[in-house]
Structure formats: C-alpha cells, structure tokens
C-alpha cells in the first residue's frame, strides 16, 4: 500500500524499523557504558563503544532491506554502496590494527624495525628538545 505523505504525518514502516534499531543500539550502549564506568570495567566500556559503533551499520542494513522490500532498486543499490564503504573502512581499520600489533611486538623483542606510520607522526608532533632526549 502506497502512503501519500501529504495525507498524514504518520511515519512509514521503514521509519518505525529504523527508530527501533537506533533506540535499541543507543539504549544498550548507554547501559554498557554506564555499567563500565561505575564498575570501572574497561571490557564493558569496550563493548559499549562497539555497540555504539555498530548501530549506524545496522541502520544501513535496515534501510537496505526496506528498499529491497519496496523494490526501489536505485536506492537499494545506493544503500549497498554505503554498506560497501563501511566494510572498506572496517578492512582499513583491521590492517591498521595488525600493523600496530606487529610494531608493538617488534618493540617488545627489541628488533630493529621501521616504526609504524602512526608512530612517525607522533614523533613529528613532539617538541624539539623532547625528541632529541
């Protein structure tokens, strides 16, 4: 059934689904972050952040299904593109994480390896005398 948006200010089924997804993500992350701070548990804080970071991703997944259900192919492919960019960002993050971990283990073993990109940047930003020390 096609709704005429001029006739009623009622939100559509897709709007409702998005509202539920966002509310669940926000409420869950709020509880985890609060519990993590009160109990001073870093693991809970990490989970809270993870849920918060995943909420927009789930939101795009819901929009993708919504567009598929409406057979709105242009907007379905647009949302697939957004999902692909989010996936690329996760891949870049995973590569950065691996190179950081490799740099940390090389430091721990005392090997003479070139520092990771982030480390070079921090060095450049430090004031002169501290760098020489």
């Amino acid at each position: 059934v096609t709704r005429d948006p001029r006739a009623t200010p009622e939100p559509s089924l897709l709007d409702r689904a998005l509202e539920v997804t966002l509310t669940t993500g926000v409420a869950l992350s709020f509880l985890l972050l609060l519990a993590g701070l009160v109990a001073q548990q870093t693991a809970l804080l990490g989970w809270g952040m993870l849920v918060l970071l995943a909420t927009p991703l789930f939101r795009v997944v819901i929009v993708t299904f919504g567009m598929l259900r409406r057979r709105d192919w242009l907007f379905f492919f647009l949302s697939l593109w957004v999902l692909a960019v989010l996936a690329s960002s996760l891949l870049v993050a995973a590569r950065l994480s691996r190179s950081r971990a490799a740099g940390a283990s090389a430091d721990a073993l005392g090997r003479d390896q070139p520092p990771p990109k982030g480390a070079r940047l921090q060095e450049r930003e430090r004031p002169g005398p501290e760098r020489r020390a």
Binding site: R16, L22, F30, S89
Partner: protein
Amino acid sequence: MPEPTALLLFTGVGALTGLLGSLLGIGGGVLLVPLLTLALGVPIRVAVAASLISVIATASASATVNLGRGLVNVRLGLALELATSVGGLAGGVAASLLTARHLFQLFAATLTAMGVLVLLRSGRRNVSADPALDVGRLGGWLHEAGRVYGYRVRRLPAAFAASLAAGAVSGLLGIGGGIIKVPVLNTFCGVPIRVAAGTSTFMIGVTAATSAVIYWARGDVALPLTAAVALGSLPASLLGARLSDRLPAPLLKRLLAALLLAVGARMWIGTL
C-alpha cells in the same frame, strides 16, 4: 581510570555539546573538540576520536526522535551518504598526514566559512504550501503546526559536493559534518531547516562510524574519557531533539551562525 570528578566534567561537556548538537542538527563535535582541546587540554587526536564516538551517540539518539516526527528524508539521506561515507573514509586515513596545527587551522576556516554562509542567507524560506507541488524523487512534505508544506531538492551537485567535503572534514576533525551539510542543504538546495537538520543527524552516525573505526584501530580512543562524554551526550541529545520543535526556524539559523562564528574565532586565536 581518571578521577570521578574528571569523568563527571567530561560527562557535563558531553551533555552540553550533545544538547546543542541535536538542537541544531550538527552532531555537537564542532563544539566538543574545541572544548576538550582548548579548555581541558586533551590532545587533539584523542579529542577527535572521543568526538566521533559522541557524535554517533548524539546522531543516533536524535534520529529516533526526528524519524517519529517525519523530519528525516531517508531517500535524500541515503543518496548523500554515497558522498559522505567516501569522504569520511578518506578523511580518517588522511588525518595521520596532517599536523595538529593544520587540523586546528582547517577547523577554524571551516567554521568561519559556514557561519558567514548561514548568516548571509538566514532570511530565505524554502517551503511551499501548494498541495499540487511536484516534489520530485528526493523532495518531501513537512507537517508543521497543522499545515503541510512541500519542498523540492535543488542544486543536487552542490549537495553532493558539500556531503563529500562534510565526510572528509568529519574524518579529519571528529565532527559529524552537519555544520557543512545543514547550511548547504538549507541555503543552496531548498531543504527546510528542520528537515536539513533531521536528515543530517540521520546521516552523521554513518559518516562518523566510517572514520571512528580507523581512530579506534590507531589506538586514539581513550575509553573512560570517551565513555564519559558519550554518556553525557546521549540523554542531552534526546532533550535537544525534542526542544528543536519548539524554537522558530529563523532563531535556529541565527543561533547556528552565532555558534559557528564564535567557536571559529576562538579556534583562530588558538592557532596564533
């Protein structure tokens, strides 16, 4: 873990910026980064990471309210997310190539330019009460005070360019990009200010998440500080989204312009 008083201070800062961010549809990072760096001495990269995560909280919480009110144009948001997500990814990666001073200067220039733009074009009205108006695939209808107004989206290339820039700036500076999207969508593309703000907050979460994961992987997320800021911004942004309905549109525009210019000026002073 930092001292409880420090955590409470960060929560208060998150609440203030979350309230203003959702009220104006700009996410709040534009105020949070200057407050954390200039007033509380947090390193800019840690502040940017905290801001990105807080912006996701603010945007997701206020989007729940805006969706219920029909203030989110999902199609327009989705179309523009094409550009913002690519910009966000590029900005997040490019952030490691710039020095802290360059980031401050870029921030100040962006704020000043957008403040002037909003101020110059704050008197324009974008909606039409004509029920026969053809709103096109991306336009929509706004229900306000018992009346229905239609709007068309004009100058789509400008909206795409602004969204790409907003995404890049978001990744570089830890802001949602709403300070670029809301003024451009409203003043150039004919989208009413409330819909521009609602659609912007709807998109901001995705843009910020694209770059936040890169900051996380780089080890820039300080968990207790970021959690305290996000905890403050979550309930405050819900309040801000509810309040925005009660303020007249011209006042919202002037408030946005004043805020952008004031924070921009403070950032310029910080770079001297």
